[in-house]
Symmetry: C2
Subunit: 397 residues, 2 copies
């Protein structure tokens, strides 16, 4: 048969990372390319206990159809938690539980953007989200990421030039891939600009609880008195990504439309997983668990940056000193061929992600690559950096 595909998928390519991952199930590969939580980050024993209790005490509730909005006790838990800890949520906001936070990006774009409408994005940014917007046939307009977050002059320029801009997409904490945290001043400026130009902000915060140094910066959603911010939260990095549970907190009219779309997309999110998240937050030491995660990742960042300083810095490779998250954004010296560096390292079974994969325009020049420190073991991190240093020695002398 002559398969004719829709225009929206013709341009869409599989995520470079997922493709790399698929080929890196080889246990000999050192997966600096992934974004998986560390094995020691999973509350596996607690989840086993919780599941057993749920499936003995409420089996039908856990296994039956439910409402699209999400398991009501989890919605209440998230609502109370986000108000108490992050000053997020106003009278006019509502919560939707989603099948991972990525679904928030998909739904937000679906309800707000017609084809060819514009999503203003940080560039580089999360590949998954960029592909979500692309798959709705939104047009992407990139705004550069500086040391303290989005370039605000470029953002204002974009808002002026794009009358069909419908969303500003940002990861303000430990941005994927750069690790950059947006300053408070820039968050406030972005909020004012969004309000002025009548464009909604989509604030994606999967890593916010994984701060390992410095002081927390208030969420953009915490100043949202005007109902212009859609906040995307996730349990993937703090409980389990395999469970696929995320949530949005957004103005009620927007949430209502997202609910109708989610009904049509996947009816509702897995109920057992929602009940597990709810019980873990309420019945266990959730803040102790988050502190444990910070300890795990602090140790990994420390090791990784020590090794980079020792073995890669001498070749002129630099990195952004992230205060949290799961990634280090490393940059090769000007004259170096970044793609070739990644390719040669991959041949030695050390996988990092070429930075241009994260760009709005993937063909733009890029000297950086993304290095994840949560997936490999500590031994793999040591071995992996040594192999990157080998590649550097071959190419950068």
């Amino acid at each position: 048969m002559d398969y004719r595909f829709s225009d929206r998928v013709l341009a869409l390519k599989p995520s470079v990372i997922r493709e790399i991952l698929k080929n890196s199930s080889d246990p000999d590969v050192i997966p600096f390319s992934a974004g998986n939580p560390a094995p020691e980050a999973f509350p596996a024993r607690e989840i086993a206990q919780i599941s057993q209790a749920i499936l003995h005490e409420h089996p039908i509730a856990a296994l039956q159809y439910s409402i699209t909005e999400g398991h009501p006790p989890l919605r209440q838990t998230v609502s109370a938690y986000m108000r108490a800890h992050h000053q997020i949520g106003r009278e006019n906001d509502d919560i939707l539980i989603t099948s991972g936070a990525q679904q928030v990006m998909q739904l937000a774009c679906k309800v707000l953007c017609n084809e060819n409408d514009v999503v203003i994005c940080e560039t580089p940014s999360c590949i998954g989200s960029l592909n979500t917007f692309r798959s709705s046939k939104a047009r992407l307009r990139g705004v550069a990421v500086e040391e303290d977050g989005m370039d605000m002059q470029a953002l204002e320029q974009a808002l002026k030039e794009e009358p069909n801009a419908r969303l500003i997409y940002t990861i303000p904490n430990f941005q994927n891939p750069t690790g950059v945290t947006m300053s408070l001043a820039k968050r406030q400026k972005m909020y004012r600009l969004a309000k002025q130009y009548n464009v909604m902000i989509l604030e994606d915060n999967p890593y916010g609880d994984l701060r390992i140094s410095g002081s927390p910066v208030p969420a953009v959603k915490s100043f949202d008195e005007d109902g212009i911010v859609i906040y995307a939260g996730s349990f993937s990095k703090v409980i389990s990504p395999g469970l696929r549970v995320g949530f949005s907190i957004a103005p009620k009219p927007v949430t209502q439309k997202m609910v109708v779309c989610k009904q049509a997309d996947d009816v509702h999110t897995n109920i057992l997983a929602q009940m597990i998240c709810n019980a873990f937050i309420n019945d266990y030491d959730y803040s102790g668990h988050l502190e444990h995660l910070r300890t795990v990742y602090r140790r990994r960042v420390q090791l990784t940056t020590d090794l980079i300083n020792r073995y890669l810095a001498p070749y002129g490779i630099t990195y952004h000193k992230a205060e949290g998250g799961l990634f280090l954004w490393c940059t090769l010296p000007k004259q170096a061929d970044m793609q070739e560096f990644c390719r040669r390292s991959a041949e030695k079974k050390v996988c990092v992600v070429p930075g241009n994969a994260f760009l709005v325009d993937e063909s733009a020049p890029c000297q950086s690559f993304r290095l994840n420190f949560s997936t490999p073991t500590l031994e793999q991190i040591e071995k992996g950096v040594a192999i990157l240093a080998e590649t550097a020695a071959q190419m950068l002398r």
Copy 2:
């Protein structure tokens, strides 16, 4: 803020059924409007055992990120099962595990239909699927459902008149809402027409294993030597809907595009749920379980149709004698006001779904309502039919 929504969601309404369901958490309501498996249909004890084993033996695998295509052992299990039991799957086909079967409809439409392309549907048909197509801004063209399935003359007419038709959507077994099963001759004719007009078939079969009388009819996908059929399967009705696990079996080029879209939509389906389904099919008496379900539903159909014959037939209310599935499609006499019948019954806390909700054009005349016999208890079924008879006595004398 002035919220401007995309054209694709402006026209979309919440599913009538889900809205009814939301308001019918009232335990006094008799939920003939739902589509939930009966409580005694859940293999709850087995799922509790399986979950415990998985979370003790393979906790990290169950909780970590995985690949979009689905948990590889489950894909193998489904592949082997569908070949052995249904002659489904050829060299050129591939399996994708989805977050419920509804996601198959969403992905198929997303990869094949541009906005304003046409999906040819049975009318009436599953509201969830119709809304999925609407939410992608596909245009629906309805083809009437006869006693033995889609009207083939009307289908051919539609194919002639709609050069932008991209999909023929059908539920060939115990169709939702009519309960109709498409005859073998019509399945073959539909296949020939689809091939002739170069339009793919989307075969949705959530109820196929719930046959309670008559003989199985081969799946349309079982004759697919040409790679023109996308088959949607579901574990919602046979294991658990809350787990949200379904699958597609489709030609490789189509599956590849669906995978890329699913990556962008929700990354992958909950892994623990995939592992539960896989273990249940392989390690337990799956065919015995299906036989148990058939016994459960046979008893419920028998009771419900006995009651309808006794209490509603005298008022001229008829129904299609379905050979399986979860629904009875009941039709009021010509002069009766169906909407009013449903409204009055709902006031007495007996909820059925007005038939026009399932139509491609919801404003078209309709004398039928859908009555579900799997959700209410046997006592509720008795009481509910008696109350429907009360409404009939008021309105149809």
